[in-house]
Symmetry: C2
Subunit: 441 residues, 2 copies
């Protein structure tokens, strides 16, 4: 009999492997930070002696959810302003708050809150773009969540970085500091074609080439952005990036709402995935992403929450629900975005988008143990005929009961084990007070 | 000092009165089934001695949510089939299941499950359309929720009713049986213009006139329905109903997606409200309701979940979130559907739509005590700058902690006090088994 650090047993196991195998009365054996074996509870308990046993009767066992686009240090901006035109929202609320609070302490605290919130929502990996990323990395490490931290690059000086070279130095230094981390990866995140010069975009690409990084960039979120690019560069944003050579490195686009068919084919050719943040697209009235066309052209689509300030939470289950439903209506076809496909968008497809599918995104022996349990033995979840349908259309994030990341138990029966929730709630209240005073709210 | 049966204290009190008054550190005194007084905690505790005190620190206190269109006995059909064309879904799944299970026992059990689920989601009044409504009324009474039960009328014999006269007799008999109920009201609910003859629509209207009932009817849910009406009657559905004289009685429309400007003006003239069920509209790819035009024309808009089979839950908070966001994007205007306005759609506007605003929909002295508490002292809800924003964009239904209906405490700290949740969960499992076998799933 082999030893396992953790055995999860008695659950409905969704592997999200190539065959989308489902194991009823399923079990997982975890050794160290990896999945050692999967099978029925009978098989796994016959083979493994467990250090810790987690009983999952009435629960779904599945890969952790992957949030493919967010800005977690914006968590304290939850609902500071809503229902406003984009420019008013930015100029009168977001920018004044950022200009006052964009410092190490704020980023660390807000990121810790966001990291903890994501774990409660079943998210085990997030792909972030913000500033002072070492602080977000410290917060993610403390909470025990996996993060790809993109240091934002803009032409204007921000967060103490005077120019692109300083941003690049910061990313290099962050990569060395966290080189031993099993949870954290760093990259550079050029903000957008309208906020980064071509020289800076190329600097970012060179850095990405040197360290084999994934470039994370906002692309074509608004129609205005496309019109501006045509006026300024004589071409649409993806075309511009292609001609710059920016797309020769691994890239993930956030948003990708206003792209044409030619641009979608370029994305396919360059293996660029797109992170759709449907709630934010709707709330800011940015538009409807061409998800159907992406899928028909073989572009990998994954989902993100975007920052809390434009959502207003870090909840991928509602994102799944809304995305699935919206694109049925938008395409006048209820068969669009089948539930199982949407579940793949937050697991294996997102892992592929982030070039992590060798290690993450499905439950298979040898992969990293990022695993969540969702309770379906509740009034709101019964009866259940199809677990994928429930994940997309029925459950909310309060169903997430237990979260394991990199083999470590970080939440058990909705209790976070890595951070003190009451302390985080109290600190959020303190910052709320400061932010209100700063804005004269 | 006066006596109060219940005093709720220390909460953030959203009155949803005409001035949208918010009382910080607010309190409510409840005597019998009515709100006796509102004020600050200091004021109310100075004036009232409480039989029971409910502490609401860190919580929102607000009117119970009103679900303006649903079919609660379909709760057991949660996710039996998704992502299918409407006709396949109906013919291969819903109708075969209904034809097998549309009996008193099934309706009672499924309605009890739905009623309990709605209470957990903060819903205190629902406007239902289904069959064998006495059973739904029994279930609602047992759970302690307020319901307007519409007995479905179609030309085809259903649920043991051979024809319209039998449906009318059933409604009359139900009204006598439940005449003493403070929670239940009965009406007739003609299904739609394509499923009810003009003779039957007029019979329904006459019954409604006789007893001053609100007529609840599906109208213009799909484009096909409108095309069929034009072909069959030479006019669109609302025009047809107007010419029939059907709209001279109080009426609420469910859906109202495919209406033109002339029809909207008729609705305004006849004081007809519309219950929008956005999630179901999207999931079935029915279309985008002209919410902006309704509001600009002064038509009362309220929200419903529709049945669980096309949602797949009974959650008005997600309905609020999705509706607010969708219509911003659809109108390319982020200022559309402000959060406070959407909160009114599930409280006072819904009460007006159902002709109950004299008694319900806001917290005011003399109104019935249908009150809910939502916990905002959580990681997911902090920081909070604006409670309306939180209700629409941030919170999910697990935030609903305590529910009072007609002065009675029916849920406290998420524990239902009127029904045995474990028993309901077990029974849902039994029905699941029977439904699966019937469909050969």
């Amino acid at each position: 009999m082999q030893k396992a650090d953790i055995v999860i047993r008695d659950g409905l196991l969704l592997t999200i492997n190539r065959e989308m195998d489902i194991i009823e009365n399923g079990a997982v054996a975890i050794c160290g930070n990896k999945i050692k074996a999967l099978g029925t509870t009978e098989e796994i308990t016959a083979d493994f002696q467990a250090g810790k046993t987690i009983f999952a009767k009435g629960k779904i066992i599945m890969p952790g959810l992957i949030n493919a686009h967010t800005h977690i240090p914006m968590t304290y901006f939850r609902g500071i302003a809503d229902d406003l035109p984009l420019q008013t929202w930015l100029q009168d609320y977001i920018w004044p708050t950022e200009s006052r609070f964009l410092n190490r302490e704020f980023v660390y605290h807000a990121a810790l809150h966001g990291a903890a919130e994501m774990i409660k929502n079943g998210i085990t990996l997030f792909n972030d773009m913000y500033f002072l990323g070492k602080e977000s990395a410290r917060a993610a490490t403390e909470a025990g969540i996996r993060g790809i931290i993109g240091e934002g690059l803009l032409d204007i000086p921000l967060a103490g970085h005077k120019n692109a070279d300083e941003v690049i130095d910061y990313v290099k230094s962050a990569r060395s500091e966290f080189a031993g981390s099993e949870l954290i990866d760093f990259t550079i995140a050029p903000h957008a074609v309208y906020s980064c010069s071509s020289a800076n975009l190329i600097k970012a690409r060179k850095l990405a080439e040197e360290f084999d990084l994934l470039l994370h960039i906002h692309v074509s979120e608004t129609e205005q952005e496309v019109l501006d690019a045509i006026q300024k560069f004589g071409k649409r944003p993806v075309h511009y990036l292609e001609d710059l050579g920016f797309l020769e490195q691994n890239v993930i686009f956030a948003h990708g709402i206003w792209v044409d068919e030619w641009e979608i084919r370029i994305m396919k050719k360059r293996s660029i995935a797109v992170a759709i943040t449907t709630e934010s697209h709707l709330k800011l009235a940015s538009g409807f992403a061409p998800v159907r066309s992406y899928l028909e052209n073989g572009v990998t689509v994954c989902l993100g929450t975007d920052g809390v300030s434009s959502n207003n939470n870090l909840d991928l289950l509602t994102e799944m629900d809304l995305t699935a439903k919206l694109h049925k209506a938008y395409n006048q076809d209820p068969t669009q975005l089948q539930a199982a496909q949407v579940v793949r968008m937050v697991t294996i497809d997102a892992a592929r988008a982030l070039h992590k599918d060798e290690f993450l995104g499905s439950l298979e022996p040898g992969k990293l143990a990022d695993i969540i349990l969702l309770d379906t033995n509740t009034l709101e979840a019964q009866p259940m005929y199809n677990p994928y349908s429930h994940l997309v259309y029925t459950l909310n994030s309060s169903a997430v009961s237990t979260v394991i990341i990199n083999g470590s138990l970080v939440m058990e029966e909705r209790k976070l084990l890595t951070v003190d929730e009451a302390e985080l709630i109290g600190r959020a209240g303190d910052y709320r007070q400061m932010i209100r005073e700063n804005l004269n709210l």
